[in-house]
Amino acid sequence: MRVAAVGIMGLGYGSFADCEPKFLNMLLNSYPRGVVENSENQTPKSAWLKILGNIGPEEMKKLSIIPSNIPITEPTMGYPSLDTERITLREELEAVYSEFSKLIGRGRVVASINLYEREESCESLKLVDEYLERMYMDLDSFMFFSPYGEREGNGRNKYGIYISTLPRPQEDQTIKLEEIMPLILDL
């Protein structure tokens, strides 16, 4: 099975209305969807620390998780390991996709796109949309999610996206960060 979860920091459904990303809109209308709710961990590092919980590198190996660009270390953890201060969103997407195509099928690839929130715009979303489509083409099961949404005042919108081959656990509830990893393991 070719399985992956990709977190896109700072992507919210409001951007679907503003920017009309072609591929993501198609997914939204074709696959189980939901809303991630998180008002406390609104930086890439804090969000991923919450998502990973007690799962460290050894546990990841046991669970066949292959980390990719996870921003809990500097440079980021996994394949690729990037210094996100020195690269652009396009470079990040290219590096992640390049490793992704080599790793897929060897385990559950868990990847993070960290620079969308720094370069938030419709142009950036178009780029993310294109790369997600490329990844999707290589996958049997997927989860595309974001732990929080767009810039809002001095913070971030507390609602992120969830689109996956796996339905959300409870129909009438938002998804909390601590529920993400169990869902990835169920993919």
């Binding site: 459904y13 409001g14 951007s15 679907f16 209305a17 503003d18 939204l28 809303v35 609602y159 509830q173």
Partner: protein
């Protein structure tokens, strides 16, 4: 000018609906992905309609309000004129469609 949609409880809803000639109420829930898409569409068109009041009701918090107006799918927009529902839109519609529906109501008033 209204800058943001007013979040309403079921207690506040009736007074809000009667507070202006044309009122749009967005019935939504946090877990509903299309509701967040529609919310942004509405936010973008609010400045175009100074004469319309826009409000939203979280149906998870206030299910009685949804029941009262027979809201069975989310998102649902109900447009009120003189306190009476005159139009209803279920699901996400393109911005142009929503603008056109509201314009026709405004032009007729």
């Amino acid at each position: 000018m209204q800058a943001e949609m007013e979040c309403l409880s079921d207690d506040e809803l009736e007074e809000f609906i009667r507070g202006s000639e044309i009122v749009v109420i967005d019935f939504w829930a946090p877990w509903c992905a299309p509701c967040h898409v529609l919310h942004r569409i509405i936010q973008r068109i609010i400045p175009m309609f100074n004469c319309i009041k826009f409000g939203r009701v979280d149906t998870q918090k206030y299910p009685e309000a949804a029941e009262q107006y027979s809201v069975y799918g989310l998102p649902t927009l109900i447009i009120f004129k003189h306190g009476e529902p005159v139009d209803r839109i279920v699901g996400v519609v393109p911005r142009e469609v929503l603008i056109s529906r509201l314009k026709s109501l405004v032009d007729a008033s």
